[in-house]
Symmetry: C2
Subunit: 331 residues, 2 copies
């Protein structure tokens, strides 16, 4: 039997090239080898967007189009919507007996995010419990593997611990202990040079951006701020135009040529960016084409996702019944 | 339409005479006038008994027998099991966005119980969230009224606030704001004179106690510790034998006679307790008889409760769907 993978996204906006290299390409690869589940985490998205349900709703549709666009196969990969699988909440409630608020409060993810969001004196309970609730996401399909960034490692560790404690307490084998896979994913800086690309930072290139928008954004890309004229020697390091060249441009000779000329002031930023535009277009225009196909059959794709959600519900119900058996509350 | 009442018990032991006067008699009265729901809160019981599921399981059966014994009508009152209504957890998850951990931590019930249970440095998350989870119990049937003790008032207030905030945020009318009814319930002291009667205190008279056990426990009842001989003048105040006489003995003249003779040293503790035994038997033996009938048809009664739980599940599903409509996550 193929091993089960659980991964997902919060529907809080469209996906960008950071996601493409960060997780999407990886999923396209993994879907052949594994039994892959991709969760659209709309319940989690509502924990800090509860007053903007319209945004979450629209983002679900955008995510589905983005998935289709990058080549996630809706037959091979089980894409599902979190709110359609209430067993996740049920699993969470029972697991919540196996952690303490002291442990939750020391979770590094929660600590950082509470600081980032300036929640110190008013942290929504829904937001506070979500690292534990995520254990429910993983365990609802009893996933074997969870591809995550290194910063998410503590969350997987706490999921493993909850699974282990539950099994031990009830002398049962209800849960796998899922393992993290730390992917080959790269962190992609924004067009402004910020190490993080994000919607709220206004520095993202979206998979849904058209040619014109792409061209405009490339013009804005942060290069070498000390270089005024094309004849000035320029720096490659920290130069986002070259960072993107390395990512997108398949013509390695061209990259080498541009870099060496850049260093000695023999090529303009304009030319570097024109070449980058062509390289990016080569990768992004087929994605954009597929995205248009997806947009034209949104309803059908959503229907597939909802059918998949039913499947996950059935899997989750099986897990819940095993839990209830163990806890002697199955009637 | 009749107003809806939600009330319930944690299945953590058998019920005693404290419950009889505290809530059970009230429920027998209310079931004619109202659409009454009684929840067996086994999920909540597991929050601090998660390592003893056998106890919770057995207590469910005991509760059902106790309910039948005191005259709760299984047709008029909808008795249901909490774990059979997972919509409660789903409602909780969405409501958790409308409170903060600062508010939860200041909840007087939680503060007291964390201190009582010496949980300071390791409070199970399941236990911590349960006052908010209780809002799910109440709102899953959109109860109009919740009979509670005064100490539970903050919990009802927070439920009202969650209901209100949800309605306001989504400009919806999903929830009633349930109201507390502070009953006429009396607090019944234990046989040892402790103001609280409880299993863990070892000072309870159970509805399931047989005649012999009752007699033995009555002999142990705390009276006037300064009275050595039957001829010593005795105190009525704080005397549990007389407290119970006032509760159980219908013969008011007899009570008056005993009290006045007690004060002047003209009646023995033995006689006071013998009269008490007869008075208590009069109330408790019919309950005991009905309890035997219940014990002989445990399976049938459990079946009714499980059928009722299905009904509540359907009601809860209706509430969840309205919530999802409001949050734009209904597909």
């Amino acid at each position: 039997m193929k091993k089960r993978i659980l991964t997902g996204d919060r529907p809080t906006g469209k996906l960008h090239i950071g996601h493409l290299f960060g997780s999407l390409q990886n999923r396209v690869k993994l879907q052949d080898e594994y039994d892959q589940f991709v969760m659209i985490a709309n319940v989690q998205a509502l924990t800090d967007n509860f007053d903007n349900p319209e945004k979450v709703k629209e983002s679900i549709s955008e995510l589905i189009c983005d998935y289709y666009a990058v080549g996630i196969d809706f037959e091979k990969t089980t894409i599902f919507i979190q709110s359609e699988v209430p067993q996740i909440h049920e699993i969470f409630i029972y697991l919540a007996n196996f952690t303490t608020i002291q442990q939750v409060s020391h979770n590094p993810t929660i600590k950082t995010e509470i600081a980032d969001k300036k929640f110190e004196s008013s942290t929504p309970l829904g937001f506070y419990i979500y690292p534990i609730h995520q254990a429910g996401d993983i365990l609802v399909v009893n996933a074997d593997l969870v591809p995550v960034g290194r910063d998410q490692a503590p969350m997987i560790e706490s999921t493993r611990e909850l699974a282990r404690k539950f099994n031990e307490t009830y002398k049962s084998k209800v849960f796998n202990e899922p393992q993290a896979i730390f992917g080959t994913e790269k962190n992609i800086p924004g067009i402004d040079g910020n190490v993080k690309m994000g919607k709220s930072l206004g520095n993202a290139i979206y998979l849904s951006d058209n040619s014109e928008t792409l061209k405009k954004k490339i013009k804005m890309i942060y290069t070498d701020p000390n270089r005024i004229h094309a004849t000035d020697p320029g720096k490659i390091e920290g130069n986002i135009a070259f960072f993107y060249h390395d990512l997108f441009n398949e013509d390695l000779d061209e990259i080498e040529d541009l870099k060496s000329r850049y260093k000695i002031g023999k090529v303009s930023d304009v030319e570097v960016k024109e070449r980058l535009f062509f390289a990016m277009e080569k990768v992004l225009s087929p994605i954009r084409e597929r995205r248009k196909i997806a947009e034209n059959q949104k309803d059908k794709l959503l229907e597939i996702v909802l059918e998949n959600s039913k499947k996950v519900r059935a899997i989750g119900q099986g897990v819940v019944e095993k839990m209830k058996d163990a806890m002697k509350i199955r009637f």
